[in-house]
């Protein structure tokens, strides 16, 4: 089983986001960059598939020089090798999806895994777009996966609002991982050392020959609106609860 895992490097979720004065991006100074948390579930699932069925795991990432760190971490978790698409430009979602699809095509694979969304732009588009580009079936927001190697079929459980559904499909296919699929492992020290020797292939975005034009234009980023001054109650519980319920009922009119 050859599994490709597409990972993105994103600011740690504990980051305070500050917007650049031109409104066209965020201030990156001092940001701690990590693997997108949902992509970690995808990596872990690939590792479990390899433990069960054997095969190879190739991590694919796209971005500037700093993504090397994310790649090293994925390799330290246990992926076999990596392909980095180098681009310092800000690319459109469709350009990214088409570049990743092209790399996947060049690599060959049985499965493509990625996170259900990246926690920076929150677009949740790359998985389905890669699947569409490659004319492959997809399942997004996967919380459980069974593989039937004999019939080359998958049975995936995906999360809906207040329900789940079972999706059956052949593979090759594209799956996007949701929290609950597994518990990602931490890299061990020996594996961190081993990762340093693993192969990282670099290709430039330009060399992939993607002629897709940008489809979305950022007009500007703005901070969310400020929250009003809080009313904090500190008296004895009976009093504060009475006051709170009055405020909610009469001032806010929400209960």
């Amino acid at each position: 089983m050859k599994v490709l895992v597409m990972v993105k490097q994103v600011p740690d979720t504990a980051t305070n986001i500050q917007i650049r004065s031109d409104g066209q991006g965020i201030i990156e100074d001092g940001i701690k960059w990590v693997i997108n948390p949902y992509d970690e579930f995808a990596i872990e699932e690939a590792l479990r598939i390899r433990e069960k069925l054997g095969g190879e795991i190739v991590v694919i990432a796209l971005g500037p020089k700093r993504v090397d760190e994310a790649i090293r971490q994925a390799l330290a978790m246990g992926a076999d090798r990596a392909v980095v698409v180098e681009s310092s430009e800000t690319l459109d979602l469709a350009q990214v999806a088409h570049a990743l699809a092209r790399v996947a095509q060049n690599e060959g694979f049985d499965l493509i895994l990625t996170g259900k969304q990246a926690v920076d732009d929150d677009s949740a588009q790359i998985g389905p777009m890669v699947a569409a580009r490659l004319s492959l079936p997809q399942v997004s927001i996967v919380i459980h996966l069974d593989i039937d190697v004999e019939h080359k079929r998958l049975r995936a459980e995906r999360e809906l609002e207040g329900a789940t559904e079972i999706v059956e499909l052949p593979y090759p296919a594209v799956l996007t991982a949701q929290r609950g699929l597994n518990e990602p492992r931490y890299p061990t020290l020996p594996n961190i050392m081993k990762a340093k020797k693993k192969e990282v292939k670099r290709v430039s975005f330009e060399s992939l020959g993607i002629d897709t034009l940008p489809r979305i234009r950022l007009i500007q980023l703005t901070p969310p609106s400020e929250r009003p001054e809080p009313t904090i109650l500190t008296a004895d519980p009976v009093e504060t609860v009475k006051t709170l319920v009055e405020l909610l009922h009469e001032q806010a009119k929400v209960i």
């Binding site: 389905p128 569409a132 079972i166 234009r217 950022l218 929250r227 809080p230 904090i232 709170l244």
Partner: protein
């Protein structure tokens, strides 16, 4: 010249999710021409009444085989084939699990730009639409425009008001094209969660607990408050990670991002990633024994106190209030 708005959504036993009514209202308010809807599956045509109530001009129902079972590739292919016939300027999807799965696939098939999970849409002077969508789970807002002729947007639930505007929709008989190699992935089973559990992203009131709850069994105090309020129950990340509650309870940047009218944060200190996930709440009520907890900086109302004393009193007080109204 493409014009009008094409609204694509799912239904279950003739019922649509509330977000569909919100999306129909937005579609109408764009005033870009007629509103055409498309929905799928057995009982699809039973939605005609509610579609009329919320101002759809035309409705397409694909209720025949193979559209009775959801298939992302099958549905996306058929939608891509029908889009030129409807010829819309704008396509809207609900940003539900269904819409999030299907819309990017459709977008790539028709080569259209898609902005997902939008909070609001605005028509600019040239009759093009700009959208505002949260990024970093709401730590920032992005205003975006779509550069392709067809502009696609998915709309976050629970943000826009649903306002009726009764019409009598025309049912369009546009037969779907089904490619023989599509419908590869097919939904074979649906498992409902226990009845009475509200979806957090659609809830009007949420009661949420954190580490301050001290133990999983204490969540029953939150359940009791939620029951009198008709609220959904959520949690912070650490208690979901600990297994006190299922992962589906987890609210925050790597969990559910919610936008209720009232969010009760009980025993939640307010880590940055949690605050991002609740920033769309209209009112935040914090109950915490630490007056310095960051949650109080974003709260509209706060009680500094022992939640084990406060919660039962609060439940009783609200029960009494409801009984008198």
């Amino acid at each position: 010249m493409s014009q009008g708005v094409f609204v694509i959504f799912d239904q279950n036993q003739g019922q649509v999710r509330h977000v569909v009514l919100e999306v129909l209202t937005m579609a109408r308010q764009l005033e870009l021409g007629s509103v055409t809807t498309l929905t799928f599956g057995a009982n699809a045509s039973q939605t005609l009444k509610v579609l009329g109530e919320y101002g759809a001009d035309q409705a397409i129902f694909w209720d025949q085989e193979p559209f009775t079972r959801y298939s992302s590739d099958g549905f996306a292919d058929a939608i891509a084939h029908v889009v030129p016939h409807v010829n819309p300027a704008v396509i809207l999807f609900p940003a539900s699990a269904w819409g999030k799965d299907l819309s990017p696939r459709v977008a790539d098939l028709i080569g259209a730009g898609l902005a997902t999970d939008c909070l609001s849409l605005r028509v600019s002077t040239d009759n093009r639409v700009t959208a505002v969508r949260p990024i970093y789970a709401g730590k920032a807002l992005a205003e975006v425009a779509i550069e392709t002729p067809v502009q696609m947007f998915s709309i976050r639930p629970n943000i826009h008001k649903a306002i009726p505007d009764p019409k009598t929709p025309t049912v369009l008989d546009l037969a779907p094209v089904v490619s023989p190699d599509s419908f590869q992935s097919v939904v074979t089973e649906r498992k409902e969660a226990q009845t009475g559990v509200q979806e957090l992203t659609e809830a009007d009131i949420i009661v949420s607990g954190g580490r301050g709850m001290k133990a999983p069994e204490n969540f029953k105090l939150l359940d009791e408050l939620a029951t009198v309020l008709g609220a959904a129950v959520g949690s912070s990340r650490p208690v979901a990670d600990e297994g006190w509650v299922p992962h589906s309870y987890h609210i925050g940047q790597t969990g559910k991002v919610v936008s209720p009218t009232v969010y009760f944060a009980v025993g939640i200190s307010g880590a940055i990633q949690h605050l991002a996930g609740i920033s769309g709440s209209k009112y935040i009520v914090a109950i915490n024994n630490d007056a310095e907890a960051p949650i109080f900086k974003v709260a509209n109302y706060g009680i500094v106190g022992d939640l084990f004393q406060v919660l039962p009193l609060l439940t009783e007080e609200i029960r009494a209030l409801k009984a008198n109204n």
